[in-house]
């Protein structure tokens, strides 16, 4: 068998295998003795390297494997769909704002202020490390209290929570007051 054909067989076999193939297996398939095969595969591998092909043949113990050449990694990576995370939604921003201004707060308070369930947003903010559990409220069920983190301060480039721009206190306190009053009524 001419060398070109043996090279072809090695290429085809290594390509289809995907995985590493032992020298013994390659000898068996090509029906060529080990020293000859090794010299052919070494030559083939060298020519891949010399010509800076996109593919290379690497030795893995007593096996050989086909792989992409490392220098093309940045291009290869582009075929994988990037995982994209969209900017924070309005709902999540609202939850973050409530926590930032009214911390420490419970889920229930956030929900009362916003008028809608906010669990997803709270989870997302926890995941992003912008908020954290700061303790538990001394009330029935001992609900978790949330507050902002140092990461929050870094992200919004402020030194401390007191650096948050003042908002019309009356507005937000009115919300809290009316909502807490409403809460008491339902307990009665």
């Amino acid at each position: 068998m001419e060398i070109q054909k043996i090279e072809g067989i090695i290429e085809a076999v290594l390509f289809a295998a995907g995985d590493a193939v032992s020298v013994d297996k390659l000898c068996e398939i090509t029906r060529i003795d080990r020293p000859t095969l090794l010299s052919i595969i070494t030559r083939l591998s060298d020519s891949y390297s010399y010509n800076k092909r996109g593919i290379k043949i690497v030795k893995v113990g007593d096996k050989y494997q086909m792989a992409t050449r490392g220098e093309f990694f940045e291009y290869v990576q582009k075929i994988a769909e990037p995982i994209k995370r969209n900017p924070l939604s309005r709902a999540t921003l609202e939850v973050l704002a409530v926590i930032a201004y009214k911390q420490p707060v419970t889920r229930a308070t956030i929900e009362r202020i916003r008028g809608v369930n906010s669990d997803n947003s709270v989870s997302r903010l926890l995941e992003l490390g912008l908020i954290e559990e700061t303790g538990r409220l001394d009330a029935p069920g001992r609900p978790v209290l949330f507050g902002t983190t140092d990461e929050f301060l870094r992200c919004f480039a402020i030194d401390s929570i007191s650096d948050l721009p003042p908002i019309d206190e009356f507005v937000i306190d009115e919300i809290i007051d009316t909502s807490s009053e409403g809460a008491q009524q339902t307990i009665e």
């Binding site: 969209n86 921003l93 916003r114 908002i167 009115e174 409403g182 009665e188």
Partner: protein, 254 residues
């Protein structure tokens, strides 16, 4: 009978059978001798039934259509319309011509069916995807402030729902702990000592019972009653306040 040669053949559908009959009779697809072909077609169906081969409805539909064409061709023609236009076979011919193309194309695909089978492909390598995190891009303190104002703006339009509206739907009465507390206290003031159980006399609902119980707890907390147990009976005793009066209710909001 010649039909015997049929029974060995399975047809893909009524059009397939019809094409076979046309070929067998060596007639043109564009000038089908409807009477003969219809007769053979119906014979074939009868033959199928005879050999217990399931005759699908499509075969019967085409049989009916063939009979319809046959009867139409027997009718005398009126006027001088060109023959082609009212030839009742035209539509059937078109269908047969079209079907025949695909039948031939199927043969083409049949020949190449495994043409690609001598080639091997490989699996995709695992490639770590790039994470594009835009969660916090372009977010400023301003967004937080405007979010707060959005909420307060929305609250203005969020009117509390009138509890009256739910009456009859939810059917939950509101019993004030405070009113129960006043009742118990009034009783205690006059009787000085009552049985715990007596508090629940005349109680009609669960809510009322809970409110009554909470009222007792509240009174204990206020130091207005003293609880004692003897012979399995729990008794409440009234504690006289030195100052008395409205001061008693000072802590109820806690």
């Amino acid at each position: 009978m010649k039909q015997i040669s049929f029974k060995l053949q399975i047809f893909e559908g009524p059009l397939d059978l019809l094409l076979h009959l046309i070929n067998k009779n060596k007639v043109s697809i564009y000038d089908i001798p409807i009477s003969e072909i219809t007769e053979q077609y119906i014979d074939y169906i009868a033959e199928m039934k005879h050999f217990d081969i399931e005759v699908s409805s499509e075969f019967l539909v085409l049989a009916a259509h063939l009979l319809y064409i046959k009867s139409k061709m027997l009718l005398p023609k009126y006027g001088d319309a060109p023959e082609d236009e009212d030839d009742p076979r035209t539509e059937l011919t078109q269908r047969l011509v079209e079907y025949k193309k695909f039948k031939k194309a199927a043969q083409f695909f049949c020949e190449r069916e495994f043409a690609g089978s001598r080639t091997f492909y490989k699996m995709r390598e695992y490639i770590e995807p790039v994470l594009i995190d835009e969660s916090l891009s372009n977010i400023t303190i301003g967004h937080l402030v405007s979010a707060i104002y959005d909420i307060s703006e929305r609250i203005k339009y969020r009117r509390p729902v009138n509890a009256e509206r739910f009456k009859g739907i939810v059917g939950r009465e509101v019993v004030s702990v405070f009113s129960k507390l006043k009742n118990v206290l009034k009783k205690l003031k006059t009787l000085k000592k009552i049985n715990f159980i007596d508090i629940f006399r005349n109680v009609k609902t669960k809510t009322e019972a809970v409110a009554s119980f909470l009222a007792v707890l509240e009174l204990i907390k206020m130091n207005a009653v003293k609880v004692s147990q003897n012979n399995g009976e729990t008794q409440l005793k009234y504690i006289k306040k030195r100052k008395g009066g409205s001061g008693i209710f000072g802590n109820t909001k806690d």
